[in-house]
């Protein structure tokens, strides 16, 4: 740091040429000093430096921009909804809300650096303008003085923050940043530190000495050195991520429609869209996606960050119009082109589509549509060969349900439960789903929810024939099966004149409400948590002890429904929160069609989550998704000798209902008996 000392103006001149000493100015306030006059040579040198810096920047940034622009257009992408986009930009970019909220300490440090940069924009512009005698902010004017002080405050915060971030990256080294230390990050951090130091230093020198010139030139050259370093480092996010956040597809895990006859998903470089290109170059390699990935954290090959970086290396190597397959199994490996581990079919099919990565990403990368895009490319062309996957698709083709059971099984269950068939006179169509119609545990849930509806006096009916919504096919990239099921489903609902649907499965709700949009307009649909929360006043309050609620990915992150199921849980007992809850909830392992695929590598996702839920000490694990329920049924017994009881929120509610027509305790149901 520069030491201040009280010196006379006369002795100052004799001390010029050294940075070690500087002095308080004669005025009672510190004033920013800048050289007042530049020679023509100096100005010329500055102009050349600026030209060189910008030239180098565009020399390196041009090809990247070219790659992004030459990628194929995104089908159906418009600036609509502008309000939502603007809000995301303000909240995520300007306010840095996501960065801070999800990693508070480094997030805040990052935000200070970012806001500092914004505050510095005017200062830097003026700084360069001074070199041509065009300075517009006078250090001695009130406005100028005020602004320079304002910037100095930020400079101090930036200097402290960047030091903290430097220490974190090089000494603390969180595992999510990757094993390779990025030395360029160190260089950049040093440059930022130097920028701030040279600015702050300018307050402590006066007059026309060499010190001032030295500080001025240090600041200038650091600034100009920084610029060309941006494009080939992760600091490219400075330029791209504001655009990426603004332009990202408006929905969560929003899978784009296929464009024409030759589009099967992400097969090769020619299928990579401008948005995907932009997103891959925006990646700042922070590893938040990996940190929250149920696959990456349980020993699978999949690592969402490496998928994105895999796209980036692919684009750098092959370009956006290449026919070389994206997935490395399909590429011919050579010494120049070794098979990369991460952009592989194996990795792509380990994703549970939980969306933890996409939710966390601070620069607007949408991992799930990219991973589903890779799966589409593999499945729609038949390149993905997997015994379980094929069995699932054939079951969906033939039986119309993911469990591969005969439709007569569903008919029998409906008869046994005496569910009314929807005929247009009832208020709700109760969508049973594959789990509610065929799975023993799912049947218990749907039967109990039906009792809740009956208790409330809500009229409902089930469809005579109902097929899977196509959710597993959609997430596994089988557009043929998905489209067939979506069209069939829409037609069935239209023929039956359904106006309102309620379902126990968040996957059904999401798929019908969002994914079916490509093929028609579905009736209004809600999850049973929303329905029960709305009628909570008419449901009996009970105290069943402590209940830990597990947020299903497809209800929470996908549909932003966190409070309704909690309302129901709190009505039944004392709500406990798992260490990872709400938008940070950890997947049960079933999503993305993985419930139907084979044995997992490494730890089971469901076991990791079950351990976490059991460790809360709750007496009951409350779920709101039949898939989570079925995963935990096995996992809780496997990880705990005295596992907590496992109940859906409908089952929690039904326990308090006195059912005169049913003398059995209400925790018992027709189909399944005791839990």
């Amino acid at each position: 740091m520069i030491a201040g000392g009280l010196q006379s103006a006369a002795s100052l001149r004799s001390l010029t040429g050294t940075l070690l000493l500087s002095q308080l100015p004669s005025s009672p306030f510190l004033t920013l000093s800048e050289p007042s006059r530049f020679t023509a040579i100096e100005s010329g040198l500055l102009a050349v430096s600026i030209g060189l810096s910008c030239g180098l920047f565009f020399w390196r940034f041009g090809p990247i921009l070219g790659t992004i622009l030459r990628s194929r257009k995104d089908p159906g992408l418009t600036l609509h909804p502008l309000g939502r986009r603007t809000w995301d930009f303000v909240w995520e970019v300007l306010c840095q809300a996501k960065v801070i909220r999800q990693r508070p300490l480094p997030g805040l440090a990052h935000a200070f650096v970012f806001w500092g940069f914004l505050a510095f924009a005017l200062v830097s512009l003026n700084h360069l303008a001074v070199g041509f005698g065009l300075g517009f902010l006078s250090p001695s004017s009130t406005a100028g003085r005020f602004y320079f002080y304002f910037a100095a405050l930020w400079a101090l915060l930036v200097a402290i923050s960047i030091t903290g971030l430097f220490v974190r990256r090089f000494f603390v080294r969180p595992v999510w940043l990757g094993q390779k230390v990025s030395y360029e990050s160190g260089v950049i951090a040093f440059l930022i530190f130097l920028l701030m130091l040279s600015y702050l230093g300018s307050f402590f020198v006066t007059g026309e000495g060499a010190a001032i010139r030295l500080l001025w030139w240090t600041h200038t050259l650091t600034l100009l050195l920084f610029l060309p370093l941006i494009p080939h480092t992760k600091h490219l996010h400075l330029v791209l991520s504001p655009v990426t956040v603004f332009l990202k597809r408006p929905g969560f895990s929003d899978i784009p429609p296929l464009r024409e006859d030759e589009d099967f998903g992400l097969v090769a470089g020619k299928d990579v869209t401008q948005l995907i290109s932009l997103q891959t170059y925006s990646c700042v390699e922070c590893g938040r996606c990996t940190e929250h990935c149920p696959a990456a954290t349980t020993g699978k090959v999949l690592n969402p960050k490496e998928i994105i970086l895999g796209f980036r290396s692919y684009l750098n190597e092959f370009g956006p119009s290449s026919d070389v397959p994206l997935l490395t199994e399909s590429r011919i490996a050579s010494p120049d082109n070794p098979p990369a581990k991460f952009l592989s079919m194996e990795a792509a099919f380990q994703c549970t589509t939980c969306g933890g990565c996409e939710f966390q990403c601070p620069v607007g990368i949408q991992h799930v549509p990219i991973i589903v895009g890779l799966r589409r490319g593999a499945t729609n062309t038949g390149a993905w060969e997997d015994d379980y996957g094929t069995k699932l698709f054939l079951a969906l083709e033939k039986n119309g349900n993911a469990l591969g059971l005969g439709t007569a099984e569903r008919d029998k269950f409906i008869q046994k439960q005496a569910f009314p068939i929807f005929d247009g006179s009832q208020e709700y169509c109760l969508w049973m789903g594959c789990m509610g119609g065929y799975d023993p545990k799912g049947r218990e849930i749907i039967a109990d929810f039906a009792k809740v509806m009956q208790h409330l006096g809500t009229t409902f009916g089930v469809l005579k024939k109902e097929k899977c919504t196509g959710d597993p096919a959609r997430r596994l990239g089988n557009d043929l099966v998905f489209q067939t099921l979506a069209e069939t489903g829409l037609k069935t609902l239209e023929t039956a004149k359904v106006k309102k649907i309620v379902a126990i499965c968040p996957h059904c709700v999401r798929t019908i409400a969002t994914d079916w949009k490509d093929f028609g307009v579905a009736p209004e649909i809600e999850h049973h948590s929303e329905f029960m929360a709305r009628h909570i006043d008419r449901l009996p309050k009970q105290n069943s002890g402590s209940i830990v609620y597990h947020d299903p990915c497809y209800l929470g992150r996908y549909q932003n429904i966190y409070e309704e199921p909690r309302t129901v849980v709190e009505h039944a007992g004392t709500l406990l929160e798992a260490p990872r809850s709400h938008e940070r909830s950890f997947c049960c392992g079933a999503g993305g069609g993985l419930a139907f695929l084979g044995e997992e590598q490494g730890d089971r996702v469901s076991h990791v989550r079950a351990r976490e839920l059991a460790a809360t000490g709750a007496q009951i694990v409350g779920t709101a998704c039949p898939f989570c329920n079925t995963m935990f049924r096995d996992a809780l017994t496997a990880v705990s000798d005295a596992p907590p009881q496992l109940l859906d929120i409908a089952q929690l509610t039904v326990r308090a209902l006195s059912a005169p027509q049913d003398p059995k305790p209400s925790g018992l149901t027709e189909s399944g008996g005791a839990q």
Binding site: N380, T381, G382, L394, K398, N399, G406
Partner: protein, 255 residues
Amino acid sequence: MKIVVAIKQVPERDAPVHIAADGRWIDESDLNYTINEPDAYALEEALQLKEKGGDGEVVVVCAGPDRVQSTLREALAKGADRAIHIECDDLGSRDTLGIARILAEAIKEEAPDLILTGLQSDDLGLGQTGVVLAELLGIPHATIIMQVELLGSGLKVKRELEDGWFQHVEMPLPALLTIQSGGNKLRYATLMGIKKAKSKEMKTVAAFPATAAPAVELERVFLPEKQKKTEMFTGSPAEIAAKIVEKLKFEVRVL
């Protein structure tokens, strides 16, 4: 190598089957149809043989009304190269010989090296069409085939016998094989396959007219009558087990 696969379209397995008013056939309205399962395995075998050989052609043939085109289209989507639809609205009134004859007439022109078909149909389950077809074409046949291997100019096939026994047979080409379900793993239809199938040839030919009255005539079709007798045993597990053994020995006579 040119392979012809003879396919039958049958009602979906869970379809609620009703008997037609005249009691001589099923009511075909409101039924969903699909490929006969053993035929799906025959198609899979043909596709795999073609893929292993590196070249060749797979032609699928199906007799029936217009609705069978959807099944043929699906076969094209899974990888068959061409389809032949034999137009025939009176399948129910033709016997096995009659059906084999119209298939033979359509296949003869193709002069294939190999004909594959399912060992039987899911609806009637007679298991004769393939055998009679081979006879009409004058070529050798083998039935209930689990595996097919190309061997120089001929074939080596694995037949399923009873009680876990298998028979390996070498035979010349051209030949006809009836394929057992489960020998291979079926593939799923893909979007790319469906798109490609649109541009593949589907030829429609008229069925060979029936020359004689069918040798077998259907008199009455009826649903199996349900007989369900459930008896609950009570007592300790040992007592229950003893009672079950007794029943199995003396009433059911299977022990």
